[in-house]
Amino acid sequence: MVSAMTEFPREQWYVAAYGREIGRELFSRTVCGESILFWRTGAGEVTATSDRCVHRRFPLAEPPSRLVGDRVVCGYHGFSYGADGRCVAVPGQTRVPRTARLRSYPVLERDSFVWVWIGDPERADAAAIPRARCLDAPGYTVVSGMEPLEAGYQLLVDNLLDLSHETYLHGGYIGTPEVADTPITTEVDDEAGVVYVSRRMADAECPPFYARSTGLSGRITRWQDIEYRPPCLYQLHSRIAPVGVLPNADLSDPAAFHVEVVYAITPETGHSTHDFWAVARDFALDDAGVSEFLAEQNRIVVLQDVAALNVLQRVLDTEPAGYQELSINIDTGGLAARRLLARLVERSEPRGTGDGAGRAATPVTAR
């Protein structure tokens, strides 16, 4: 049985924020049950430390706590901390206790996201951060957001690995009958820990999400290729083209429209999740109307999922232990993802006592 202490994988990188959210204001977000304080130094570097003053646990992102230069000053008694979490001043005395240090988290900016390492800082490897390069690359225009989800991250993983639900939950936006009707192929790279789910619709109705953004009016060839890298990064490589139009033999694909739908699935607590979403497209790059439309539509779709999963979580919370589910073909990818996640949880080291105050993060070198 998985204990509450290990309900999500630790020793992992998670998306904590978009880079644009972190500036010269103190910012707090809870990741895997740990309340983390973020701010950007005068030099532009993102810092991540515990959001609790070591003195009396006052939250450092809470006014009247404030940022003075590159120091955080607790709004309760004035304990002051540097960017590395070390306490540099306490009130009324010159000696700063040796253990007065905020836990510091390895943190890196990648592809517009701020990634934070949840686990032993010594084990943080920047090379292990999965990439979503389309979110910060020439040739793509991106819209993005984040919605809070009052459900466990596992429900969102289930949701995203089985897109047949688009037909029912997202009809009129991204769902058409062909999605649920088209068989999938699922692959698992057991060594790399990746789940791929592919659904290739040769002749499908074009849903409004794609019709209005691409300008295609007839039936389409629609490919959905999911790439999920547990626990956090999910990418849907979506290809839209007129019926019968396929990539060239050299894999160039100039007649198709490509949309990368990216999700970062970050547990806030065992029963709540940060649902980061982004839509990157390789067409109409400078069309603000298309950006506005896709941002609005995708947010609606995400909120439809949020509403459904919030209800589902509430219902599951009332179910007696050991309730049964029925899994059918559409769940092949979701079951694979569950297994990989369970394996990551098993491999997670037990969380240490306390919040690790006094322990410094090992600097992470960008690669």
């Binding site: 068989p183 999938i184 192929t185 699922t186 692959e187 698992v188 790279d189 057991d190 060594e191 790399a192 049964q324 589910e325 029925l326 899994s327 059918i328 073909n329 769940d331 092949t332 079951l335 694979a336 297994r339």
Partner: protein
């Protein structure tokens, strides 16, 4: 057996499950070359993950009794 296009066995470490078009059945393909056709994802994953138990490379797919779904 379905006329679903066959692809080479997955590379080392890769496991593949193909939903056979025109049917409700799934074909599990192990990196060792063994295959199994079954009625639900739970059965397929259990068999794939049991490798090498019950796996015989290049042996024709084995059918299992049809059921409406899989309770897990």
């Amino acid at each position: 057996m379905s006329a679903a296009p066959r692809r080479p066995a997955p590379a080392a470490g890769l496991l593949r499950v193909v939903w056979l078009p025109g049917s409700d059945r799934l074909r599990g393909c192990c990196h060792c070359g063994a295959e199994l056709v079954a009625d639900g994802p739970v059965q397929v994953w259990e068999w794939l993950l049991a490798h090498p138990v019950g796996h015989r490379a290049a042996v024709p797919a084995t059918a299992v009794p049809t059921t409406a779904g899989t309770v897990r």
